[in-house]
């Protein structure tokens, strides 16, 4: 009987030791996490140099519509009258009619600036992130249109569902304080 009670005591002592060390370890880890701050945490972003505009971004995201949108870097734009991101290749005329546009959702607004320049603005509420315009601009133009994950929408999933299917591994983790991979610097925009 005394043997049995001694055993329980030893077991209890060991348990208490494990619990205490667990508490110490947890508070240590928590302390280091809190003191480090959140600035270095990571978010998902598309590397425009790797992106091949395969179209998965529009459908693979857990959000519908996708958190990926087309972003227009105006500093790189040529303001072409015949924008290859805007117009399809084979068309009857150069009007802004829907059948002449690349964008399947009419998310690009074209407006006259001065002869012969036109400005193109992406309406993000309509953009589905399919990348068709990005492909057009990259094939023939300045590559001023790129696909980017918009962080006001992105849920920052543990494993980005688009990254899981992206054929070119273009979706990478970037520091949360630099969450975009634009090719123009802040002062040039």
């Amino acid at each position: 009987m005394s043997d049995a009670s001694k055993k329980t005591t030893r077991r209890e002592f060991l348990s208490a030791a494990v619990r205490a060390s667990g508490l110490v370890a947890a508070s240590g880890v928590l302390g280091s996490l809190v003191s480090r701050g959140a600035a270095q945490e990571y978010v998902w972003q598309i590397d425009p140099d790797k992106c091949t505009q395969c179209g998965e971004c529009a459908t693979a995201c857990v959000l519908n519509p996708s958190a990926v949108k087309c972003v227009h870097e105006y500093a790189k734009c040529g303001y072409c009258e015949l924008c290859f991101g805007y117009f399809i290749d084979q068309r009857e005329d150069d009007t802004e009619a829907a059948e002449n546009q690349r964008c399947p959702t009419n998310a690009i607004h074209r407006s006259f600036v001065e002869d012969p320049y036109y400005q193109y603005v992406i309406d993000e509420s309509k953009c589905i992130g399919c990348g068709i315009c990005v492909k057009g601009c990259r094939m023939y133009g300045n590559s001023a249109l790129i696909l980017q994950i918009r962080h006001d929408r992105c849920l920052n999933c543990n494993e980005c569902a688009i990254a899981a299917v992206c054929p070119s591994n273009a979706i990478v983790r970037v520091p949360a304080d630099k969450p975009y991979m634009l090719r123009t610097k802040d002062e040039d925009r």
Partner: protein, 432 residues
């Protein structure tokens, strides 16, 4: 004028470079044209993650209080529904503690990845609570557990041999998930999350099939995902061994009526062991000695098998598959291109780079697969040793590793209904 420039540029670009950059210089606008601003909305405020941590902490406290102190199944069910709604449908099941295993593993393996505070808290807090109160996280906080808890209609007992066998699966899943994360291959726990599809109302067809199968099974088998899949349950179960406060079925003296064991849908209640005199101690000791000798053999054998299966496991990795495909294409052994190899070609990088990356990843898989195999060998050996070590139980007891703190057993206990006094009940059949 511009049209001519465009056509010339078109002819130039079609002839070659896929990366056309600055084909058209930025125009010098005559009047002060101001380009619209390129907006870069920041990631969502951290405030939400602090709220999530606070809610998680309070829910864990409440779960521990309701299941261990107040012993109220009904109140616990309210918390279950709350957790399902908040962590599941409102927070859309991400971040979850189960998936957080992968982030912690990635932090340990990859020096560059920084563990977010909220992920660290979701990983650590339930484990810390398990150290003190057992699996109160599983009981009423985890949204995956909660979803299965509320659909359980008619629990069927899983035969002990099947239950014991299937309980090895979470160990294998845990090992595989860590292997795939540390080799930079995939977050499989997230990819095969059973219910995140319902929380978000969207996902792939495979996820839908898996989720529906788990939910249908959960109507007759208590928490199939938690018992036979969940890798986080492995960690929680083992830490629960050290719990200071744990489920004690009978508030007074147990009358060995086995009603609690019938009520437990998770097969987590162990009956009293037979009289010490009735078992052959020598045979048991011999078997234990054999198993202890067998342990290193099983670990080494597992490691060897793991090493051998490394090439197969490495093919889970995208980059390894891509490199194999590129090699086959380069050597003319296959026709055509896959999406991935086409995308690689468009990037214009040399094939050697892909081969080199794949070799590094394969090397990681060699080591990782051997460790995974050794781990599985260890799990088998330790489980057999535990099965052959008899601990004396005089009453019905909750198995601290398997108990999910669901509080069902209290409601079935006659002593509980008799006001916690064992004196009211005869227990002449019990030996003490």
């Amino acid at each position: 004028m511009l049209r001519t420039v465009c056509i010339v540029a078109l002819l130039v670009s079609v002839s070659g470079a896929a990366f056309a950059i600055e084909n058209f210089p930025r125009p010098d606008f005559s009047e002060g044209y101001q380009a619209p601003e390129v907006t870069t909305p920041r990631p969502k405020a951290e405030l939400f993650s602090y709220i999530d941590i606070a809610v998680l902490f309070l829910a864990l406290m409440l779960s521990a209080y309701l299941s261990l102190k107040k012993r109220s199944r009904r109140d616990l069910l309210v918390l279950v529904v709350f957790s399902l709604l908040y962590f599941g449908f409102y927070r859309q099941g991400c971040i979850c503690s189960v998936g957080a295993i992968q982030n912690v593993a990635l932090t340990l393996a990859d020096g560059e990845y920084v563990l977010p505070l909220v992920v660290g808290a979701f990983f650590g807090l339930p484990l810390l609570f398990a150290l003190f109160f057992g699996r109160v996280f599983c009981g009423a906080v985890c949204p995956l557990g909660a979803a299965q808890e509320v659909v359980l209609l008619h629990p069927v007992k899983v035969p002990a041999w099947l239950d014991n066998g299937l309980r090895v699966l979470p160990y294998a899943y845990l090992g595989l998930a860590v292997l795939l994360v540390t080799t930079g291959s995939a977050f499989i726990i997230c990819r095969y999350d059973p219910f995140v599809l319902f929380f978000r109302l969207g996902g792939s067809a495979g996820m839908l099939v898996f989720g529906v199968v788990v939910l249908l099974l959960a109507t007759v088998i208590g928490r199939p995902y938690c018992r036979y899949v969940c890798p986080y349950g492995v960690l929680l179960g083992w830490l629960s061994v050290f719990a200071r406060w744990r489920t004690s079925i009978s508030p007074g003296e147990c009358v060995n009526c086995h009603l609690c064991a019938d009520a437990c849908p998770y097969g987590a209640i162990r009956p009293p062991t037979p009289e010490p005199g009735t078992i052959d101690r020598r045979e048991g000791k011999g078997r234990l000695a054999l198993l202890l000798v067998l342990l290193p053999v099983l670990v080494a054998g597992g490691a060897g098998l793991g090493w051998m299966s490394s090439p197969m496991l490495a093919r889970i990795n995208d980059q390894v598959r891509l490199a194999e495909r590129l090699w086959l294409e380069e050597h003319g052994q296959v026709e055509g291109q896959t999406d991935a190899s086409e995308a690689y070609d468009i990037q214009g990088r040399p094939y050697m780079e892909a081969y080199r990356e794949a070799t590094i990843i394969k090397h990681k898989f060699d080591i990782g697969s051997a460790i995974l195999g050794g781990w599985l060998g260890l799990v088998f050996a330790v489980r057999m040793i535990i099965a052959s070590v008899r601990r004396r139980r005089e009453t019905y007891e909750a198995d601290v590793v398997a108990c999910m703190s669901c509080a069902r057993c209290y409601a079935s206990c006659p002593v509980e209904h008799a006001g916690g006094s064992a004196k009211l009940v005869q227990h002449s059949e019990r030996t003490s």
